[in-house]
Amino acid sequence: MSVEPRRSKLVARLTHPVARPLASVYRWVDERMGISDLVYKALYEAVPRRGAWTYTLGSVTLIIIALQIVTGMFLLWSYVPSTTEAWLSLNYLAHHNEFGAIVRGMHLWGAYVLLLVIGLHMVRTFVSGSYKKPRELNWITGVILFLLVLALGITGAMLPWDQAAFWTTVVTTHVLSYVPLLGHWLQEVWRGGNQVGPVTLTRTFAIHIWLLPALLVPLIGLHIYLLRRHGEHGSWVNYRNDPEESERERADRVLRAEPPYPAVPSDPAYSVPDDLDEFFPSQVGKDAIVSFVAVLIIFVMAVVVGSPLEAPANAASLTYVPTPEWFFLPLDQLLVQFPQAWMIPVGVFIIPGLASTLLIMVPFLDRSPDREPWKRPQLMVPALFTLLFLIFEALLGVNRLFNL
């Protein structure tokens, strides 16, 4: 089927069955705004049929980030970012506003599930070799987004101003003081003084609700733009790579593809996938199903487990044992393993910094054209050991904190 009839069918489907009187209004708006064109461009795209379920992870990430933004917006209806009132406002929420407590629970569990889904999304991209040319920037923007989400996670953990939040604030802001030369000033700028106090909370709050999201949202836009520019078919499973097929025959497949490829065919071997499907509804449907399961898990955890609120912040505590958020356990364990003087900055900055740099550099460390994981053991084996190391460190951290 050629493009045009498909398109009008799509438009007809969008307008016709809803309500007949609305159709004329829709046509009036569409004539002036071109909504149908946008919808058509967004939904009518070739996506690979194989591996489609693993490709839902990016959409799930997007949906959960949207959930975080919406629940965050409505947490602002109840939360006061002040050292004297933050805890009181959330305590009120917990006991006098049952649905508000669920909103806070969803924001917390949304963050936890989001980190897990981003982890799976990264593993999928890594294993399938989808970061290779021309998709290097997809990977790099993705890693930066992951780091921003970690920063959102840790700043969010500081806001309730209970014991957990207070000591997370103390330790996290004090880590900055180990930056060579500038450390003391950086810590003062974040804390608004040399100690954690009222200004620390307003600054952390501002970072959490505006600064980081203002960086996150446009970067998500860039990430998705790059995805659409190069297509979703970065994985080896989408290619026959028939050695008999000439380059000309491949180029011909690009031209005749229906729906059209979004790909910029810069790598002839990996620009023409076989076995295609339509983005809408085949992929969108799968995305919706998996996203629904993720949101359901978040909702159930918010209702059943909820979000904890410990005793109010107390800087004069002799019995409280501060524990980090679970996603910072490996880093916390590094703090124990790199003691004293010059070793502390090694554990705090050099090792995590080196790890982040290597993660960003992945597309340049592995420039071979091969995408099958078993053909790139030089990357897969170190990555596996890194993952096992992170889990091992987290377990050591749990063991240490529970045996104290």
Binding site: V170, V189, A316, L318, D332, I344
Partner: protein
């Protein structure tokens, strides 16, 4: 000017200069606002810790002190711990007002009677009775408060000094 500037070149120049001006005018006060804490001098009033007559020699005793917050607008004072340590030095008794803030990541340390050391719950830092870091990650001894004794009443300032 030797050569007359074309209208087009002037408008390009105007775009750049005006754009830089807009950025600078917006950025300058923002940078000032963010960096202000670095340049702010704060008062460190004397705070009464209490009568330390009852503190036994060789047993660090925790006093809860209401420290005024001088960081920002008027808020209620914040409770902090001052560990008062009395030690025999020759025939005299030395008084050490130790901060209980770990020098590693600033968690609250406490005196562990079994270990006979100060222990930090966060990452296992250990300090001797005089506050010297003797184990775990802390890079330096516990800080001491600036202090004065009026009779047997101890006063400290929210100002820490190296041991």
């Amino acid at each position: 000017m030797a050569r007359r500037m074309s209208r087009r070149r002037f408008m390009v120049l105007a775009t750049n200069v005006a754009g830089a001006g807009i950025t600078l005018l917006i950025a300058a006060p923002i940078v000032g606002e963010v960096l202000q804490p670095i340049f702010t001098r704060r008062a460190h009033p004397w705070v009464r810790v209490g009568d330390i007559t009852q503190v036994p020699v060789g047993l660090p005793t925790a006093y809860v002190v209401q420290m005024p917050t001088t960081q920002a607008w008027k808020v209620p004072p914040v409770a902090r711990i001052v560990y008062v340590v009395k030690l025999n030095v020759g025939s005299a008794v030395q008084v050490l007002p130790l901060s209980n803030v770990c020098t590693h990541m600033q968690c609250d340390v406490h005196w562990d009677q079994n270990l006979q050391q100060f222990l930090c719950p966060c990452h296992g830092g250990l300090y001797s009775i005089t506050g010297v870091n003797v184990g775990g990650p802390p890079p330096r001894p516990l800080f001491r408060y600036r202090h004065k004794l009026v009779g047997e009443t101890l006063y400290v300032r929210d100002q820490l000094t190296e041991a």
